[in-house]
């Protein structure tokens, strides 16, 4: 027993160290929690932190590796306990709770003019909640069609460009032409059907969430909201140009079928190109096409990655200065290339590295000006509406279990009951 206790004491002594925290009277220490996870992206973030530390001896930045998995719970607990990182990396669709909960600093008045004017107002809109700005949107990715070039050429279909994209109807016809026995024109990975549908529906004029006369948000399923869901539904259930089996899959799950020629096109986030470059078999030819356009053109919704400052951070000015450094045009390009995404900054978007045709960079960059805030991300009650009403409703509609009228009824009737609880 005595030996056991000795071992335990040694272990606990070895284990028990306390966090460095902020040093008083000396240089300021900021903790920057980054969610970068791909090798190049982690390297870019770490390099930038090192560069900052080398040139700013009075403000030291400590790099903390976070994870997209469970980031919301982890941040919420840290905020509640007053132990949150000073600079927080997240995505705009995750910020609403934190912004309304008073956990994040309102950055108006802190942001330098350069940064404010460099990022377009449509991007700032993704991090604006109420009247405050609670994050700096810096990386974004449109949904694009990753296509098997050989199949497109063999079917002799018109290749769409950002200047002359396919309409949703044309896309449906092309998918039919690319289909055959055991082969599908398109595979829709719809593990998250709500965000995919809502973001793409902006192109057809669908907004779903509207403000009524007394300022309350209500769900109204208009003709514009029906275009994308109907196209997807009909591709699966009527044309059989899309398999039902991928509807519950994540994007990466469709890649083996894409490489094997089973699917000619896969709608994916722009950053999936990195995986395709790594995994595509030799001799496999692929290209990036813009998503189809509707009555509103090529626009689509996005939830950019953001950098925010914790409300409890005692050195907000220094934290914003660090964000400004990270998001200088050249640095923003480094971060974008590391994550295979697009920067939000207009100057960064002009960088030649983002205009090469290699790996479809030019196509994605051409779409940047058409990206808008994802619908509803700032609507209170949206997460509950999404989980309890919209996700099952869209899943059942796409699988053919319910029709469009029932989908509309559920999104509007059940959905407005949920939203009403948050707007009393």
């Amino acid at each position: 027993m005595r030996t056991l206790l000795k071992v335990l004491a040694v272990l606990l002594l070895l284990a028990g160290c306390s966090a460095p925290g902020h040093r008083e009277g000396g240089p300021v220490t900021l903790r920057f929690q980054s969610l970068a996870w791909q090798q190049e992206s982690v390297a870019a973030n770490r390099e930038l932190v090192e560069e900052w530390n080398a040139t700013h001896t009075d403000v030291k930045v400590e790099y903390v590796q976070g994870s997209w998995d469970s980031v919301h719970d982890q941040l919420l607990t840290s905020f509640e306990g007053g132990e949150a990182p000073d600079v927080v990396h997240d995505a705009s669709d995750d910020l609403a709770d934190f912004a309304y909960g008073g956990y994040l600093a309102d950055l108006r008045g802190l942001l330098p003019g350069r940064l404010k004017s460099d990022i377009p107002s449509s991007s700032w809109g993704t991090a604006t909640f109420g009247t405050g700005v609670y994050g700096v949107p810096f990386l974004q990715e449109p949904r694009v069609l990753i296509a098997n070039s050989d199949r497109l050429r063999a079917a002799k279909v018109r290749i769409p460009t950002p200047g002359h994209p396919w309409s949703w109807e044309e896309f449906r016809q092309v998918a039919r032409r690319l289909s055959g026995p055991g082969r599908y024109g398109v595979a829709w990975p719809l593990k998250e059907p709500v965000s995919a549908t809502l973001n793409l529906s902006l192109s057809a004029g669908g907004r779903l969430f509207h403000r009524d006369a007394d300022g309350k948000t209500v769900v109204r399923f208009t003709d514009g909201d029906a275009v994308v869901p109907r196209t997807l539904h009909d591709q699966v259930a009527v044309d059989h140009s899309a398999p039902a089996s991928t509807l519950g899959s994540g994007g990466a799950d469709t890649l083996p079928g894409f490489f094997a020629g089973r699917y000619a096109m896969v709608p994916l986030g722009f950053s999936y190109r990195q995986q395709i470059v790594q995994q595509a078999p030799e001799g496999f030819h692929w290209e990036v096409l813009p998503a189809p356009a509707g009555a509103a053109g090529l626009i689509q919704g996005v939830s950019p990655q953001t950098l925010s400052v914790s409300a409890d951070c005692p050195h907000k000015k220094e934290a914003v200065a660090f964000i400004d450094f990270l998001l200088r045009p050249r640095n923003m390009v480094r971060l974008a290339l590391g994550d295979w995404m697009l920067p939000t900054g207009t100057r960064a978007l002009k960088d030649p590295a983002l205009h090469t045709t290699k790996y479809g960079w030019a196509t994605g960059t051409a779409l940047a000006a058409r990206l808008r805030p994802a619908p509803a991300q700032s609507v209170r009650g949206y997460p509950e509406w999404k989980d309890k009403v919209a996700t099952p409703a869209y899943q059942e509609y796409y699988s053919g279990a319910i029709g469009l009228a029932e989908l509309r009824s559920r999104l509007e009737d059940d959905g407005n009951l949920v939203l009403a609880r948050y707007q009393r």
Binding site: M1, L4, L5, V7, L8, L11, L12, L14, A15, G16, C17, S18, A19, P20, R31, L35, W37, Q38, Q39, V42, Y63, V64, Q65, S67, W68, D69, S70, D73, Q74, L76, T77, S78, E80, G81, G82, E83, P85, A91, K191, E192, G250, G251, A252, L255, P256, G257, F259, A260, R262, G269, Y272, Q275, Q278, Q279, A280, P281, E282
Partner: protein
């Protein structure tokens, strides 16, 4: 004779099938860890990698501080197992042997405490640990794990204590052994398998635990293995599959080793005295 042989063959076949069922995830993890990105993107995955590579292992160690995280996990898991056993053994003995209201209340607490999910306790727990200055400290994490493992450890050990006949202790007392002597020479050896099983349970619980470690540890140098493994997972669940599989496979090995080490003790103890020699 033939039916017996057939029955034996059937038993072995069933055992083999069960082993394959149990080993499948581990073998698949190993197979994935040894495949190149191209092979991972194949529509028809093969069990045996066509071009086995250790690139994923190298990448996993290059990208993340796996060895340091494993050391943190080991410290936390061993400390948890030791503290849990030290607290649970005497407590379980009292709960099993004393039929008092307090013992019954303690048993009730054990059952009730199993009903609380992580998310319900994490924020109050965080605030308590913050008050004790134990946030971002492996000591704090050990404390949490011990508290978390104790109810089940107590429940397990109470059962083991009850299985030791009280008559044996009475016989020792009749032979002149004192209380301490009886506990050390008679009860403790019979409880050894139970203590080993409890230690194993506490070790594996602490080794695998993710959520508390994610929330309570801030400094990169203190993160445990399950937290570091999530760094291979990106937004929308996209994963760097090869390095993740390599790191996850290596992360399972200590658990397997500890189990192999203690397994003989558990079964040996259970069978001790079953037959006359």
């Amino acid at each position: 004779m033939r039916p017996r042989r057939a029955a034996r063959a059937g038993q072995y076949a069933a055992l083999l099938a069960y082993l394959v069922f149990l080993a499948f995830p581990l073998l698949w993890l190993l197979s994935t860890a040894l495949k190149s990105p191209r092979e991972l993107g194949s529509l028809h995955p093969a069990w045996i990698p066509r071009h086995p590579t250790l690139a994923n292992v190298r990448q996993a160690f290059d990208e993340q501080p796996l060895a340091h995280a494993a050391l943190n996990s080991l410290l936390v898991a061993v400390a948890t197992a030791v503290v849990a056993v030290v607290i649970a053994t005497p407590t379980a003995y009292v709960m099993a042997r004393q039929r008092t209201r307090l013992a019954r209340a303690a048993t009730g607490w054990v059952v009730v405490s199993q009903a609380f999910p992580f998310v319900l306790v994490i924020i109050p727990l965080f605030l308590v640990l913050k008050g004790l200055r134990l946030i971002d400290s492996l000591t704090g994490l050990v404390l949490v794990y011990v508290v978390w493992a104790l109810p089940f450890a107590l429940w397990m050990l109470t059962g083991h204590v009850r299985a030791v006949p009280a008559e044996l202790e009475e016989a020792a007392a009749v032979d002149g052994a004192g209380r301490v002597r009886t506990l050390v020479s008679v009860t403790a050896p019979l409880l050894a398998p139970g203590i080993a099983a409890t230690a194993l349970f506490a070790f594996v619980t602490a080794w695998n635990e993710f959520f508390f470690a994610l929330v309570l540890l801030k400094s990169p140098g203190k993160q445990t293995l399950p937290v570091v493994l999530t760094h291979f997972i990106g937004a929308e669940g996209v994963a760097d599959l090869g390095p993740l599989a390599a790191a996850a496979f290596l992360a399972t090995l200590p658990s397997v080793a500890v189990f192999a080490l203690l397994q003989r003790r558990i079964t040996g103890g259970l069978l001790a005295g079953a037959v006359k020699s």
